[in-house]
Symmetry: C2
Subunit: 147 residues, 2 copies
Amino acid sequence: MVYSEKKIESALRQHGYKITPQRRAIIKGIIKSREHLTPAAIHERVCREHPGIGLVTIYRTLETLTELGFICEMHAGGNCRSYLMRRPSEHHHHLICSDCGKVIDFTDCDLGELERRLSRETSFKINGHLLEFLGQCRQCRKEAVIG
Amino acid sequence: MVYSEKKIESALRQHGYKITPQRRAIIKGIIKSREHLTPAAIHERVCREHPGIGLVTIYRTLETLTELGFICEMHAGGNCRSYLMRRPSEHHHHLICSDCGKVIDFTDCDLGELERRLSRETSFKINGHLLEFLGQCRQCRKEAVIG
DNA sequence: GTGCTAACTGAAAATCATTTTCAGTTGGAA
DNA sequence: TTCCAACTGAAAATGATTTTCAGTTAGCAC
């Protein structure tokens, strides 16, 4: 389950943000898709149903939603970000195919012990972590053998 | 210990790359510094000793060295990469202060078990992983309290 | 050493994602 | 209904990275 539109809207309101048709459309669009999408891809999708929304507005809304913790940002090499709805009370990680870019999510990581030790040794207050595995998916492995 | 200049040069030669004064200077520069550096920072440093080397050449050399596995690339939020010499037969991870950008390296992560399970469940051939902890260093925590 | 060629170089231009600016619009509290 | 801070889209600005191109050079074959 991901956060509901209602939940997100009420959080926006609580933080002094206004609910505009554009924001509603963007939120709907992100909730609907289960994949990681770049801002440009989100723009394209949202525009299919609500033409005229600017890419700038997408960027601004993504920033706000990330700030409030509803979506998560990912940097998978290159200079391009992508975003995905976050599920309540779960964090997740990625397994990425370096050939075709396919992304598989997983949620368990069991890094608590390591985190505690690092925190103790460095006096950092650790707020979170980013874990990504990189590899080659079955399909691309096959193709590599043939090619 | 990091890879030696000799080792890197012979690997370059073996892969059909030529050894140019520019490449030598860049390799020296990266070996000398123990921090993560952006391409621009590397350029600045290298130019102190060897003026006239273009930023483009830095980018090209970094790409080549990354390809051969001598340096490792890091994406720490924003749209900026940084690079660090890799130590032979070790991989390492980062603990990053989200306020001042300080980076602390650590090498142990104990993700073998998780990696095997993921590989089994997804049929991915996993080649590596990226692990970064994000937090606030002692200094920035102090300043946050005062400010 | 000399010649040769593929690899390399720097400068400038191009690209591309992202951010800023700005003037006009609008949600929603009073 | 009024009003203003928050919001919007377009265009311009930014900044990192990549491409293009014409000239240079490493290093192999002779």
